[in-house]
């Protein structure tokens, strides 16, 4: 048979909660409980509030460049599929998932306030600091998952990244390592359609981002990224597969409702109509609609929640802003478990040039001067 089929693949897209708040009851079965949906709605709303406040903090000079997460809060669902011992290896647009996994939200603010203590993940929490070099951290997730497998630990590593990140070579190597090592990893590509000003169409010629997982024998899913049910379901299945040694790639179709960061102005490159259309798919709106349609949520509850969120966010901001200034010595002491002598000298003198730091030279110098009050001829 001179021509035969060498490989075939089909990738499915899943949506459970639609834009009008309508639910596919069959697919929703055994996914989120009513309580969980309420909790997620409240949590997402808090995150949205925090995001808005962070924007204002930046504008008033109290925060550095900040990437808003607005519109991508449904990613929080992943944290419900994760167990406490599981790892989160994030980029910067899955704050909602990190908080739910236990990260104190003020740490994210601290990070963007230019303070390393924002990355000082509390003991017992399996979260890595937000990774600045795009696309590079998924390899750490591959290694973390693989380590769990070697040690026989019951852990899964979730890693989050954007559509743009898939173009980096490290994305490719991470997926390939996870595949061959049968590492318990879940790759979550938040396809928000933009990488700063670069639209999805210029990022890659592939029809979906999900299909990139085909190159590594990963299990592959595409889901509505504004749908807390679909994300939850895909993530939970991915946990089960991961524990059997089968990593998964999930593409969540969502949209970046804000600018790339506070340093960006998306009006320079983005069609306002596209943004308007995306606003209608907002995860908060559809979740609220769903809750209301099931009588799980009322205007009163909304109002009360808004007040609670305000207070909570004020609290978070206060914790981030009221922290004492870091010690200058920290930048030296944090480099190694034990500080090497020359680095200690730099710390103690706060100088790199060394005149005056070596008394024995001073002695010599005085000796020299005593012998030849004028400059020595060799130095003429």
């Amino acid at each position: 048979m001179p021509i035969k089929v060498a490989y075939q693949a089909t990738i499915e897209y899943m949506q459970i909660l639609d834009e009008q708040g309508g639910l596919d009851a069959k697919l929703a079965r055994d996914t989120l409980t009513d309580d969980q949906v309420v909790m997620l709605y409240e949590h997402m709303s808090m995150c949205r509030r925090l995001d808005e406040i962070a924007f204002k903090l930046q504008r008033s000079g109290r925060l550095g460049t900040y990437p808003q997460n607005m519109g991508q809060e449904a990613i929080a669902s992943v944290a419900l599929a994760a167990r406490p011992q599981d790892w989160m290896v994030p980029c910067y647009r899955e704050n909602a998932a990190l908080y739910l996994h236990g990260l104190p939200p003020e740490m994210i603010l601290l990070h963007w306030m230019g303070d390393e203590r924002g990355n000082q993940i509390p003991e017992g929490l399996n979260i890595t600091p937000m990774s600045i070099p795009i696309g590079s951290h998924m390899l750490h997730a591959a290694g973390i998952g693989w380590a769990a497998r070697i040690r026989g630990d019951d852990q899964v590593a979730f890693t989050f990244f954007g559509d743009g990140a898939t173009s980096e070579g490290d994305f490719h190597e991470a997926c390939n390592f996870a595949g061959v090592m049968h590492a318990p990893v879940v790759f979550i590509c938040q396809n928000n359609q933009w990488a700063i000003s670069t639209p999805r169409s210029k990022q890659t010629r592939s029809e979906t981002f999900a299909q990139k997982g085909i190159a590594y024998g990963l299990k592959v899913r595409q889901v509505d990224g504004n749908d807390i049910f679909a994300i939850f379901r895909a993530a939970r299945e991915a946990v089960a597969d991961a524990l059997k040694g089968q990593p998964t790639m999930i593409e969540t179709l969502t949209y970046r409702l804000g600018d790339h960061t506070t340093a960006d102005d998306a009006r320079r490159y983005r069609d306002p109509a596209e943004l308007e259309a995306a606003r209608k798919r907002d995860p908060l709106i559809r979740t609220r609609k769903y809750l209301e349609s099931k009588d799980l949520w009322s205007a009163d509850q909304e109002e009360a929640m808004i007040e609670r969120n305000k207070a909570q966010v004020d609290d978070i901001v206060a914790r981030a802003t009221n922290i004492e200034k870091p010690k200058t010595t920290d930048i030296f002491d944090a480099m190694f478990a034990t500080i090497p002598p020359e680095l200690a000298r730099q710390r103690d003198t706060m100088q790199t040039n060394s005149l005056g730091q070596f008394p024995q030279q001073e002695t010599l110098r005085r000796g020299a001067t005593a012998h030849s009050p004028t400059q020595s001829p060799a130095h003429a």
Binding site: G64, I132, P133, I196, S197, T198, R268, K325
Partner: protein, 324 residues
């Protein structure tokens, strides 16, 4: 003649070279419609079209490697790497390919490429957006490395770089992207690669620096006693180093301070210090002093000014060196 910022001067150089030579092509993340995250390429895609100012996928090795291929096949490629911290993924292509093709092929294949990279600290940016890796590339045979400290030089050096038949790494100190303006001729002119500039003449101490540190050094000089005469040299080109200008100066002054943002150990300051010692040994009245970043990372921005060798630290070193 117009009064331009560094950003504008670079933009002007790009515009003029693209006008003059249609084989010049810009590529990089967000360099097109958005004009680059620092707006250095603003308006160029509108002017020269999507084929000559190209938004690429988010992949620095890809940008560098494709730019090498472009250069090998008749295009003068001008890739932008968004921040110096993201040269990391492109390191292999730059060091093991761009720098080596001419030598490995004994001239049969050349890479006329100019890599533009914003560099350095002081702008309150996130991690990996404030580093100074110039020593790494000075240690890489086959690359020319340039870092202007003023709009005038930036325009002239960039034109030289684009016309250079070999790969040039063009570092743009972001701290002074918009810090001041300078008269920049509209006309085409070049500033030669490999020639330092004596910013100020003096007789007591030679100060060698480059990039945004030039401004810190000028500020440092303002705070020194009137009768201390400092000769300030702005290297402008990191490789090949203009040894002659430095040696001539230190032979005269007998004292030398070198200042840079990058960490001390194995930084370019060490090279300057060694060269001065080798060539001016018998003239030296004091050990060459290095005023640099510490051997730690550039800290997150709350503490970046504690890390950077700001003017007071430079002034202190000059004074100590002079008093030795």
């Amino acid at each position: 003649m117009a009064n331009l910022t560094l950003v504008q001067a670079i933009n002007l150089a790009l515009t003029q070279e693209m006008e003059a030579d249609e084989s010049v092509v810009l590529l990089g993340e967000d360099v097109g419609l958005n004009g680059g995250v620092f707006r250095v390429t603003e308006g160029l895609q509108q002017r020269f079209g999507e084929h000559r100012v190209v938004d690429t996928p988010l992949a620095e090795s890809g940008i560098m490697g494709a730019a090498i291929g472009l250069a090998m096949n008749g295009i003068k490629s001008v890739p932008e790497i968004q921040f110096e911290g993201f040269l990391g993924p492109a390191y292999d292509q730059l060091v093991n390919h761009a720098a080596r093709y001419r030598s490995r092929s004994r001239g049969a294949i050349t890479v006329p490429m100019t890599v533009r990279v914003p560099v350095g600290g002081g702008i309150h940016a996130p991690e990996l957006h404030s580093d100074s890796p110039e020593a790494i590339y000075a240690h890489t045979p086959g690359l020319k490395v340039v870092m202007p400290s003023s709009p005038y030089d930036a325009k002239g050096l960039l034109i030289s770089a684009i016309r250079d038949p070999d790969p040039v790494l063009f570092f743009e100190p972001k701290r002074i992207y918009r810090a001041f303006r300078e008269e920049v001729p509209e006309d085409e002119y070049t500033v030669p690669i490999g020639k330092a500039k004596i910013v100020e003449e003096g007789t007591d101490v030679t100060v060698v620096t480059w990039g945004a540190m030039t401004i810190q050094c000028i500020n440092a000089m303002d705070s020194l006693p009137e009768d201390l005469s400092v000769e300030l040299i702005d290297l402008r080109t990191i490789y090949p180093i203009d040894v002659e200008t430095i040696v001539e100066s230190v032979s005269k002054t007998g004292r030398c301070v070198v200042a840079h943002e990058a960490p001390l150990t194995a930084g370019l300051g060490a090279e300057i210090s060694s060269l001065v010692q080798e060539r001016c040994f018998l003239h030296l009245e004091a050990p060459v002093q290095r005023v640099t970043g510490f051997d730690t990372f550039m800290p997150y921005y709350k503490m970046e000014l504690d890390y950077l060798p700001e003017a007071p630290r430079v002034a202190e070193a000059i004074a100590a060196c002079a008093a030795y």
